[in-house]
């Protein structure tokens, strides 16, 4: 007859595997880029950049810094492309697709 002590390790293993993130591992990667204003050919600060995806919806907004840099640290890899959107106020001024399959630099986006 099995005692509770002998049954405990498999019970714990099952419980831990249920709660473990590794059981549902997802690849997430950083995505970064740089915004440049075509009028001044210099960095475009303060613009809101977001990613949209048909499954995941809209990402947290990233605001370009003084050097025009923006980015996210944890974007889930997906065969379906994201769309990078840049806004000035309510106005959409840029939208282009990007497929995330690893750490990604979007390079310089001229607006």
């Amino acid at each position: 007859m099995k005692t509770f002590a002998t049954r405990l390790p498999p019970i714990l293993a099952i419980a831990l595997s249920i709660g473990s993130p590794s059981g549902m591992a997802q690849s997430v990667y950083p995505v970064q880029g740089l915004l440049v204003d075509h009028r001044t050919h210099s960095a475009a600060p303060g613009l809101m950049v977001s990613l949209i995806h048909p499954q995941f919806g809209r990402s947290a907004p990233s605001y370009s810094n003084a050097g025009g840099g923006f980015g996210w640290t944890m974007i889930q890899a997906s065969p379906q492309p994201y769309m990078v959107e840049v806004y000035w106020g309510n106005n959409l001024i840029y939208r282009q697709p990007v497929t995330v399959s690893g750490p990604m630099s979007l390079g310089t986006i001229v607006l």
């Binding site: 613009l47 980015g71 001024i93 939208r95």
Partner: protein
């Protein structure tokens, strides 16, 4: 389950075990609720601060058990997270505004590669960051000790860049309805 919930649950279980155990001990005759003679009464004394004298020590199981059982729902019913109501207004901002509150504590500087420090988180003040597309970020400290209602003065954001008109060739079409700009997404860990 967080530590607080676990503690409340343990208190409830301990209370139940003490009462059930007291009944079991009574049933087995190990303890009795009958008063013992005064000469065999239990007296607990700690300096001059605490003096407990009882001729019915068995009752302690039930008193402590009941106290633990009552303490558990009392603690669980208390809302330990304070709630704050924030209100304010921005002027002349065309577009969505993102507001976040944060707190940073400056710790020591370490020169030998080892990090070791002790600190006591003080959340009496937070920094509120207000950002909008095309404007410079605006930060204001908010004091949480002045009450649960926080009213901000009107916020006037300064433009970071002149309005940029969209070049239609820069805007790709999507074959699904794009999420509303007002719907703030949470994924990605924006920098």
């Amino acid at each position: 389950m967080d530590t607080f919930s676990l503690t409340v649950m343990i208190a409830a279980i301990a209370g139940f075990v003490m009462i059930a155990g007291g009944i079991a001990l009574l049933w087995k005759g190990a303890i009795t609720l009958a008063a013992t003679p005064g000469s065999t009464a239990i007296a607990i004394e700690y300096r001059n601060m605490l003096k407990v004298n009882t001729q019915v020590p068995g009752i302690a199981f039930f008193v402590i058990g009941t106290a633990l059982l009552l303490a558990a729902p009392f603690l669980a019913s208390r809302n330990l997270m304070a709630k704050f109501e924030l209100s304010g207004k921005t002027e002349d901002v065309d577009g969505p505004i993102t507001v976040s509150a944060s707190k940073r504590w400056s710790l020591s500087t370490f020169s030998d590669g080892e990090i070791r420090d002790t600190f006591y988180p003080d959340t009496s003040t937070l920094t509120l960051d207000v950002v909008a597309a095309g404007y410079q970020p605006y930060s204001v400290p908010i004091n949480l000790t002045g009450g649960s209602t926080i009213t901000l003065k009107p916020i006037k954001l300064v433009k970071a860049i002149d309005r940029i008109e969209a070049d239609p060739t820069n805007i790709a079409k999507v074959d699904y309805p794009p999420p509303d700009l007002k719907v703030v997404g949470g994924y990605g860990g924006a920098q």
